[in-house]
Amino acid sequence: MLEVANIIEAKIEQYGRERQALIPILQGIIADKNFIAKDDMVLIAKELDISAADVYGTASFFSFIEDERKGKYVIRVCKSITCDMKNRRGILASLEKELRIKLGETTHDNLFTLHDVNCIGLCDQGPAMLINDEPYTHLTVEKIPIILREKRNQKN
């Protein structure tokens, strides 16, 4: 794993010490750490000489930029209208039941975090979700435990 400071430095070298470098920096940290800690936001603010509130405002805009430590697998269930019509609620309920957590929470073993997300462009194959970067489509309530078991087994 890289030091956050090094990631910031590398991105600044590439994009300049300007506000425009903010999103590349955020993406760079997410790619490596999967969340951005409060102190790291302060560090970014310092390096770009912008306010920490600005960094937070930008980071919080994006569903894929987290500001808390997350599970190894972040599940994001699409909440747009088409998926909703195709039983996204049932899928969500089944995930909550299997994982024994509620939307927004992380399992005790830090393996799974459950989120919803705005349209991920898979409306024709809904209901759909992402586990980290991987799409899962045409979901059914029955498929959920199978997918989760697969992930659990991949653990190591």
Binding site: K38, S51, Y56, G57, F61
Partner: protein
């Protein structure tokens, strides 16, 4: 710039290219309603309440964000427009915690006005107010209630554009979008300077000052308490706006009478301690100059910068913590006043300081925080017990049932009620500088400043940063070291300009000797605690009134104020003396920049 012609509501007009439809309409007295728009801020165009019809275009256009074009034919009032506006307002109301009867902005709220104007009825849209929104009351100065927020982002733009603090941001998106501090931390934990400009620019009750007037009423009602009120220079030229007077009316005499009728025991003037600040700060400057020029002491920090504006003081503590040595060690007039109320005043009046309640009426939100700084207890007590804004004070006058317009005039009490014109102009940007120059020049040369009527016009005005250079000639013998020196001074107002000045200081490129900084645009007359609305035109009128007040004073120089002469003789001894040092000066602390 080239001119263009267009028609608004069948009236042909000619305007400069680039003017918005909204401003063009204003020129012919057609008022288009707005919400997210504010004259002080950049265009945002997010609320759509200002929509108009442009002939030939299907879509309604937001007039605040659309430039007028040659040949445009515009309607500002049609059924289509009224329906659209009503919809916009209704939707805002549907997610709003509409509790006008218990809201501080009741009767002075832009959303309320529009809801009334468009006759928004309750059942047009179902309420989608988010549950369990907590009010942030962590700050001494600012209160934030998201349930009253219409997300117009005027506060965000204010904090960014006028103040360069950026303590606020729009976080999240869509219907989850809200106004946040960094990580949604409580206000007292972030870089907020408490300036209150966001409060002054908020159209609703979402951002307000913390109110303490009920405590003041209680103290007034307590027979064992001796309530001392003191009023800042800029209150007397703005208060009238809340009580039926034209903008720019001076109401000093009525204001004093009102306080007396409200039951305060002593009505005194912060202008007195403004004069005192000039003596202390002027001497501090001359001492620094002497050390630097004569003794060659390189540890002396120049330029010296004023410290009367608590928003500015907190700003420099956060943003330039390495350069606090440039700040004058003088407390602000408010805090000098408090420290003296519970020592000198108590002594002279034979009162026990523990029975005194000192109330400061200020144009400012940051003064509340300043009064509560832990170190501000040099009298042995809380130097200032309550800081109220002009707005709170105006409300108290209404609560007292006084017919303000018809009150007779009266004078401040004594002691600590006398002031010079120099004390008065503290309220306008450039005023502290002018007051300081009037005294310093006289001290050093024995003559008046070489300006007609003592009016140092070079430091007046509304330009964000102004500078002047005054040649010192024919000094009195003891000030010989200043002979021929060009005293370079600068004035900055609004924290955005303060940052520009400080960047120069930090880079070691500042060749000024003395700088005045005021945290709010226009100085205190544009303070965060002043009546709403405040804009450029209103600020200009209040400034004009301040200079009129100055001219109306028989004494125009701080060191000639007889009460100032008296306090040094009877109590303080000499400027920068031991007592002054203890009661009138302070120190600063480093704070986090992010």
């Amino acid at each position: 710039m080239s001119k263009i012609k267009l028609t608004i509501d069948s009236q042909l007009i000619e305007v400069e290219q680039g003017v918005t439809i909204l401003d063009a309409a204003k020129m012919i007295n057609v008022n288009i309603p707005t919400l997210c728009h504010h004259e002080d801020l950049c265009v945002s165009g997010n609320c759509r309440v200002c929509v108009v019809e442009v002939a030939g275009r299907e879509r309604l256009e937001a007039s605040c964000a659309t430039p007028a074009e040659e040949g445009m034919d515009i309607l500002t009032n049609s059924a289509k427009i009224r329906n659209a506006r009503k919809d916009v307002v209704s939707l805002l109301v549907s997610e709003h915690n509409t509790q006008c009867t218990t809201c501080y902005r009741n009767t002075n709220c832009e959303l309320q006005d529009l809801a009334a104007e468009y006759n928004v009825d309750g059942d047009k849209y179902m309420s989608v107010l988010k549950p369990n929104i907590e009010i942030d009351k962590s700050s001494w100065s600012i209160e934030k209630d998201d349930s009253k927020c219409i997300r117009c982002q005027r506060c965000v733009r204010t904090c960014a554009e006028l103040q360069h603090v950026n303590a606020l941001t729009a976080s999240h998106k869509g219907h989850e979008m809200k106004i946040s501090t960094f990580m949604d931390l409580p206000f007292n934990e972030v870089v907020c300077t408490n300036c209150g400009q966001c409060v002054n620019h908020c159209p609703t009750g979402a951002l307000t000052e913390r109110r303490y007037f009920d405590n003041v009423w209680e103290a007034i009602g307590d027979p064992d308490k001796h309530v001392v009120m003191n009023t800042a220079p800029s209150v007397r030229v703005a208060l009238g706006e809340m009580l039926g007077f034209e903008v720019g009316t001076r109401v000093t005499g009525k204001m004093v009478t009102a306080m007396r009728k409200m039951g305060a025991d002593s009505i005194l003037d912060t202008d007195f301690s403004a004069d005192l600040t000039i003596i202390e700060e002027g001497n501090e400057l001359l001492t620094r100059l002497k050390k630097a020029l004569v003794d060659g002491d390189t540890s002396v920090k120049l330029p010296m910068i004023t410290s009367c504006s608590p928003g500015w003081v907190k700003f420099i503590e956060h943003m330039f913590p390495e350069h606090l040595g440039h700040l004058s060690t003088c407390k602000s007039p408010q805090q000098m006043f408090g420290a003296l109320t519970k020592t000198y005043y108590a002594e002279q009046k034979g009162l026990d300081p523990k029975d005194i309640v000192s109330v400061a009426i200020m144009p400012c939100a940051a003064k509340k925080y300043e009064a509560n700084r832990p170190e501000m207890n040099d009298s042995g007590y809380r130097d200032i017990d309550a800081g109220l804004t002009t707005r709170e004070f105006g409300l108290m006058i209404k609560q007292a049932g006084l017919d303000f317009k018809n009150l007779e005039d009266s004078d401040f009490d004594s002691i600590m009620g006398e002031s010079s014109g120099a004390g008065v102009i503290f309220g306008a940007t450039g005023g502290v500088m002018e007051a300081a120059l009037r005294t310093a020049y006289a001290v050093v040369t024995g003559r008046d400043v070489p300006f007609e009527n003592l009016n140092i016009t070079a430091v007046r005005g509304t330009e964000g940063i102004r500078n002047a250079s005054i040649k010192i000639e024919d000094c009195l013998p003891e000030w010989n070291f200043l002979e021929g020196v060009d005293l370079n001074v600068a004035v900055a107002h609004g924290l955005k300009n303060a940052r520009i000045i400080m960047d120069e200081v930090a880079a070691g490129k500042s060749n000024y000797h003395f700088i005045e900084v005021m945290g709010c645009p226009g100085g205190c007359i544009g303070g965060g605690g002043q009546p709403i609305p405040t804009n450029a035109e209103i600020r200009a009128k209040r400034i004009e009134a301040i200079y009129e007040e100055d001219m109306s004073k028989p004494i125009r120089k701080s060191h000639e104020n007889p009460e100032i002469v008296k306090i040094y003789k009877e109590f303080l001894g000499e400027p920068l003396g031991e007592k002054s040092h203890h009661l009138l000066h302070t120190h600063y602390r480093k704070r986090n920049r992010y």
